[in-house]
Assembly symmetry: C2
Homo-oligomer: 593 residues x 2
């Protein structure tokens, strides 16, 4: 099927929008009238630009407040429509969207609406144009898709069909099953948008909070399934009004948009992509740093040993149990200090994982970073983190460790057993996109999004995990673009004895993030913990949480560059990440800066 996107979904000038849509692989666009009005390009120039970019113009939109009005008003509307049809002829657009009227002049008279729409369609036909009539969810008299279709059916004109929009249908709670009663050839266009489930005025919801399919709470694939069942073969087109996308750079937004559409097409069986290969563990986390001393001192105090060194590059492997941290002091380390630059994910089929990522528009990284390296499959996540697909220890596949020369045995009795989770800070505008990427590209499951109060603004956090929890990535985003640089990434290390590992760390000279005494007074009020247990937590700055399944105890190192470590002990099947303690941790981190 062909893919399309409304220009209103992207930021910038019309030229920027068209370029972004084309580069992201869309086949066509809907031209939003205001984008055309504000453009210095003539319709002919826009037509040529689209042709150069390989984009068809699938829809011109919208025309408003046309139908079911008194005769003189309708005459004015036809006059206006004739102007627009002339414009569309210059533009080379052959379908126009007409939204159901919100005019106070419109009357509740389906026969009149049908007669006037048929008259409009007759005029359109003279220009070789088709009219797609759509029910706005807040239309004055026509607000449901089946009502709009009844009027179209009654008008019975070959140049008049209906346009379906998933937002208008699903926001009203209409049953999309009835779509199957519409003949496919009378569905002239299909606009898709998802949206978070919000109890709010539907007009505001629509204008500000739409999102790409898979980012919200609607069953968009279900609706598309019904539409395909009718025989509809037009494009799947995204029409998303969103305050954030309006400000975001057009190019990455267009890529995220197209990825969401490809994933949707896969879901409904309209596209075949390489199947997801769900990662089965964390092979390594790679830090880049201009000065390795502070971070390796922390690793050593945490019980890590430097077990190997890269053959040809300034990269050390630090290991403890199955937790592996690469410390890279090479040219990738930039002036912004120590940061988490890459993640190795264990994969049953690294090449297939990379093929899926590429099909879903993830930039594929060169298989070898240097001539002598083992070839590894890797892609870039939306936040720039490099994701390597690894098969550590698999004799039949390249092992990334082949590039490393052993310098020391890993410590025999580790306190840290493996990486519990990784927390990656996302750029301001890319929170939902990041979750969609990890879900569709990697086949991870997205958990609920939570708000976390930082002293200087609200953060949102959302974890993506595999089924057994051996891969957990917490995606976090600040409340404003200015927050990006101050938010740290972190590596959470699993242990079966957080108290012992924290004490060992401190005794080895490591610095734990200090937790305020007031926190422990509150812990005593909330939970009936033995005094000595509480005293130990207080002594070691250990935080405590409980859910329906079990208990979570965790503590933090101080931050180096943009990175810190967390020690976590999960008991009894605790599923979270200690979110109730995050405000205290964030305040302590601000205080420590």
């Amino acid at each position: 099927m062909r893919t399309s996107i409304a220009t209103v979904s992207l930021s910038g000038s019309l030229t920027e929008k068209l370029t972004a849509a084309s580069r992201a692989g869309f086949d066509g666009v809907e031209i939003f009238e205001n984008d055309l009005l504000a453009s210095p390009l003539t319709p002919e120039e826009i037509r040529a630009r689209c042709a150069d970019l390989g984009l068809s113009i699938d829809l011109y939109q919208p025309m408003r407040d046309i139908e079911a009005v008194p005769r003189e008003e309708f005459a004015r509307n036809l006059r206006r429509a004739r102007h627009k049809f002339e414009l569309m002829r210059r533009l080379g657009a052959d379908t126009v969207l007409v939204c159901s009227s919100v005019s106070p002049l419109a009357v509740d008279d389906d026969d009149l609406a049908a007669r006037q729409l048929a008259e409009l369609a007759a005029l359109a036909q003279d220009f070789g144009i088709r009219v797609a009539y759509e029910a706005l969810a807040w239309g004055r008299h026509v607000s449901t898709y089946d009502h709009a279709w009844r009027i179209v059916a009654a008008a019975d004109h070959p140049a008049l069909g209906t346009c379906l929009d998933s937002f208008h249908i699903l926001s009203r709670g209409s049953d999309p099953k009835g779509i199957e009663d519409i003949p496919g050839e009378k569905i002239f266009f299909l606009q898709l948008a998802d949206a978070p489930r919000l109890a709010m005025d539907v007009l505001q919801w629509s204008r500000h909070y739409r999102c790409f399919p898979g980012q919200g709470g609607f069953d968009v694939p279900g609706l598309v399934g019904h539409v395909l069942h009718t025989g509809y073969r037009g494009p799947l087109s995204l029409e998303v009004f969103n305050d954030v996308f309006r400000q975001a750079e057009a190019a990455p937004t267009a890529v995220d948009a197209h990825r969401s559409l490809l994933a949707l097409m896969e879901t409904v069986g309209a596209a075949q992509l390489p199947p997801p290969v769900v990662p089965t563990g964390v092979a390594f986390a790679e830090l880049v740093t201009p000065d390795s001393a502070p971070v390796t001192a922390q690793l050593a105090a945490l019980g890590f040993a430097r077990t190997a060194r890269h053959r040809s590059k300034p990269v050390d492997l630090w290991q403890q149990g199955d937790a592996r941290v690469l410390v890279n002091t090479g040219p990738g380390a930039r002036r912004d200090g120590t940061q988490l630059a890459a993640v190795g994910l264990e994969s049953p089929d690294p090449a297939a994982a990379a093929r899926r990522a590429e099909a879903l528009l993830a930039p594929v990284l060169p298989r070898r970073r240097a001539r002598e390296d083992v070839p590894l499959d890797a892609v870039a996540a939306p936040d720039g983190t490099e994701l390597f697909f690894c098969a550590t220890g698999d004799p039949e596949l390249p092992d990334w460790r082949t590039d490393f020369v052993q310098v020391e045995d890993a410590s025999a009795s580790p306190g840290v057993t493996r990486v519990d989770h990784l927390a990656l800070t996302q750029p301001w505008h890319h929170f939902d996109e990041a979750a969609l990427f990890h879900r569709t590209v990697l086949g991870l499951r997205a958990q609920e999004s939570v708000d976390v109060a930082d002293p200087y603004g609200l953060l949102r956090s959302r974890a993506v995990t595999n089924a057994d929890g051996s891969v957990r990535i917490a995606l976090t985003v600040g409340a404003a673009p200015t927050d990006d640089t101050v938010r740290a990434q972190h590596i959470a290390l699993a242990t079966d004895d957080v108290i012992a590992v924290a004490r060992r760390f401190r005794d080895a000279g490591g610095r734990l993030l200090p937790v305020p005494a007031n926190y422990y007074d509150d812990l005593a009020a909330r939970h009936d913990l033995p005094d000595d247990e509480l005293a130990t937590y207080r002594e070691l700055d250990i935080l405590y949480d409980r859910d329906a399944h079990g208990v979570f105890r965790h503590c933090y190192t101080t931050t180096v560059g943009r990175v810190f470590f967390e020690l976590v002990q999960r008991d009894g099947g605790y599923r979270g990440y200690g979110a109730p303690n995050a405000p205290v941790r964030l305040a302590a981190q601000h205080a420590a800066r």
Copy 2:
């Protein structure tokens, strides 16, 4: 009456919040528990800090999920409460907020709720503490203030009273008149917040969208009037959860907050402020510029004449009709280029206007900028713009023009008659605050806020005006902090013949902002304008709008630094500012950069 603010209303660490509240003139604070938990200060240190800052601790909040639960659960709750009462004793706080329960364990049994609250109050009394019970709008069984009061009345304990919160009452549409049935001495606390009228889930509305009184849509003064009628003499306290305030700097937010409370107290007769002195016109607009040539070239082409020069400073007065523009090349001109730095407002009583501004926490500027200057009353607006209160031509008051030496007569037949309006770009977080400032300090009326689509994000715009429209200020804010620097301010100049003035400007070498041809095609479609009229608009880049009252025609100069000029002609009582044309103008400005 005493004023107070909940620490949750401000951004930063507890110390930063307390300092900001004190500096803004609040008498006391509510300590939000999470702020205390995250603070490295002990309760005793917080108590001492508040005392040093002259702040009383009026409330500790909140305690949740206490009442109407099974016996064992209630025993645990009392244990928790005892911990908190001990904490409050250390803190020196004597009133605690208890919110109506949202726990799934709570049962719908008012008698049980009353008995358990009485028991809690008895325990509190041992610590010298009073319990203020409040109905959360989303409480499980108790969600209205009158219901909470019935339970408090039934409990009949001297240490138990009720807490009223304007958000919880007004968001549910409860009639606040019933407050008068509560004895004033049983109202232990009053929390105030306003909110925009949003049709959304009340919990989300409350947690993210509260605002300061006068910034939203609630009748907060009406509610306070009912409370005062009961004899309540406790503090008026602001409790505002707002995503934006969480990120904004605490100090200016606290000032805005206190201003809103002072204005509220004036409205309900609980404070006497110097009465507003509504400005009656625009005396001048002052541009500062490091290089006056580009902007004075525009002024000259617009028909302005340089009529006077400041006696001792590099400031020129350019005039046409009653429109006066000061061009200042002095040290106030910073590297960020030409900008609108000050506005002179005609005032019937400049000194009284300044007194009111000062009473409402506006920074008062030195009356003389230099030793030899005429003493002028001036204050700083929240965006940093200097507002001078002027009495141009009044023989009994100092005239700012006394500092100027005439160099030329103003042109005899001006095309520009006066300043129509000024558009001031507000810092990201200060849109509602700016409107509140202009409303309360200057006595201007705020019009409806409108969204304007810029190619790179949504802008919000709101005009404040006096009754006859001789003072109009359009306040505009971008959708993100990054927008601040790119948004231009402008001076809109009124004319009775925009075509003649635009042509004169262009013929004199002035450059008008080019308007896309597509705009005029659309104008032809929407309005039945004579061809020659349309051709003239097209030729002179004149935009057109119409409302129920009349017609608006306007055009723009290109931008110099951060400033541009608009020529506007209002006919037939048109009331707006051409907002429908703003997206086209903004796109053209982006394209011109």
